[in-house]
Amino acid sequence: MTAKPKLDAAGVVVRLGDALIVDGAALDLRAGELTVLIGPNGAGKTTLMRALAGLIPAEGRIDIDGRSLSALTIRERARRIAYLPQGHVFHWPMPVADVVALGRYPHADAFSMPTDDDRHAVKKALAATGTETFANRPVTTLSGGERARVALARALACEAPILLADEPTVSLDPRHQLVVMELLARAAHDGGAVLAIGHDLALAARFADRIVIMDRGRLVADGKPRDVLTAERIASVFGVEAVMTDDAIGPHPILLRPL
């Protein structure tokens, strides 16, 4: 973990109107690490992620590979950061393969044909997510779990060194939650710097190399799951009484009742 961070942010402040949404966040993302950002609703997780992705203006310092995010062109930024927004939105009933190929958008010129690299990246993303079996189906006809995997495949096809995923497992059944988290972990262990927002503490504890906790605009904890997820912190941040168990697999929070 001594390598230079892919993404290095400090003193990040985001205001929407008069409201202070992100209040001085400091965060670094390293290659090979899956970081899960958790926190209660309205803590500012999505806003922080959008700021890190360069989609909304923010005060403070955000560096990508040692260069300021704001100094990158929109295209340079797109090649370095893949962003998977909430909700897995697909507006047109395009075939799955064409949707995944959109991940290659930052690599193509306006009128250029797909290269071998593009085709290879799309194929790899389809295979990794197990979506190649329905690659020709219109994306709007898929189930929630299938759509989530297509959305992730699209982000993976970017082959960007940084992957930011906003609630990639939301509204998925347990099996698909595990499938998606495994894919994110694999993307990290293949050398990506991955940040995912989640709500399931057990899932975060199981897969994250690192957990960052956000509460009311501030990052209040950052470290290994075992160090960060404590009964006291779950009580103070989430307002939930919990007990922590720990075994060979890792720490497991068991949530008992709202406080």
């Binding site: 959008r50 929109i74 927004p85 009933p93 219109p138």
Partner: protein, 342 residues
């Protein structure tokens, strides 16, 4: 080539051929019917009556039908791509209506001749206000219901403003002239009309064509498209200006013609796998096919010889076909309109 690409190519070639065939028919049809041979001889040479009819009367009209139809087809496909919404269409956003306000103001008060650049410029200004207003109101989410409600409001406002100009017209003749012109027609359009409108059409196509790839990325929503390197704000601005240029110039030379932008993309969408980028070219060609066919149609339907107008108005025909089509589409999209965000 993928299946969608080869079927798209076949479709484009078929539509292009259809435009040529319809253009020849358009040169033949009118009060003095010509044979295909007479029409083509008149077009490429000769100096008899047929040559005058073909070159001075029917050719400008035919070319305008192609250009305006293509412009509306592309404008519809572009707005649908920008707003990720198959019901988007310039006429539903009050664009032709608002362009009519600008253009009829200029005409009613005799500020400029009907074939001066002032008319399209005023029309473009009107269209810019309505489409810009709509895209601003619809905002980032661009939900179906907000978009359509805002369009309805803008169209009503523009309609009222046009009515006001008619009410306050300096002479009843001016009012009547504007009222008929507003119904949309290509009758008696000259090369001058063609010349003042064409530069704006070309500018419109260029602005829209530059953003075709962005429409594809926008299928993932604005945030994801932005993260892929689309400058969403610039795309939105270019599409608004591009559509306004095309619609404003169309209205200035042909009055209000609606629903081509809704119908044309819909007819070709399935053949290109619903890809909002790949739909643009066939939608453009289909728009030209539809309008030139409609303009042949108005010349074949016998109008009352005692009436003021010699022909059925083109805008009336496109609305009579387009509105039921629109209602059918709403019927199919009911689930989306029932509150679910698009």
């Amino acid at each position: 080539m993928t299946r969608a690409e080869s079927s798209g190519l076949r479709l484009n070639l078929t539509l292009a051929l259809l435009i040529i065939v319809l253009a020849v028919i358009s040169l033949m049809v009118g009060p003095a019917a010509l044979s295909p041979r007479e029409a083509l001889v008149g077009l490429f040479g000769g100096d008899g009556a047929a040559a005058i009819i073909v070159r001075d009367i029917r050719l400008p009209r035919t070319l305008l039908a192609i250009l305006i139809g293509a412009t509306f087809g592309l404008a519809g496909a572009a707005l649908q791509g920008l707003l990720r919404n198959p019901l988007a269409e310039p006429a539903l956003f009050g664009a032709p209506q608002a362009a009519s306000v600008g253009a009829s103001f200029v005409i009613a008060y005799g500020l400029a001749g009907a074939t001066s650049f002032a008319v399209p410029v005023a029309g473009i200004a009107g269209a810019l206000v309505s489409i810009g207003g709509l895209v601003a109101i619809a905002g980032r989410r661009a939900s179906l219901s907000v978009t359509l409600l805002a369009g309805l409001a803008l169209a009503s406002l523009a309609g009222a403003a046009t009515a006001l100009i008619l009410n306050l017209a300096p002479t009843p003749y001016a009012a009547l002239e504007i009222a008929f012109w507003l119904l949309g027609s290509l009758e008696d359009r000259s090369v001058d009309h063609l010349l003042i409108a064409t530069p704006f059409f070309v500018a419109s196509w260029l602005l829209l064509a530059l953003n075709v790839q962005a429409f594809r990325a926008l299928t993932l929503g604005e945030d994801a498209a932005a993260s892929l390197g689309v400058d969403v704000g610039r795309t939105r601005l270019m599409v608004v200006i591009g559509v306004a240029l095309g619609v404003g110039a169309s209205v200035a030379v042909a009055g209000s013609i609606g629903f081509i932008g809704l119908v044309a993309p819909h007819l070709v969408r399935r053949a290109v796998g619903s890809d909002p980028a790949r739909v643009c070219l066939p939608a453009t060609l289909m728009g030209a096919v539809l309008l030139i066919a409609a303009d042949i149609g108005v010349r074949l339907v016998p109008a009352n010889p005692n009436a003021t107008a010699v022909e059925i108005k083109l805008g009336v025909v496109t609305a009579l076909i387009g509105v039921p089509f629109f209602l059918a589409m709403i019927f199919r999209e009911r689930r989306l309109l029932d509150g679910a965000p698009s």
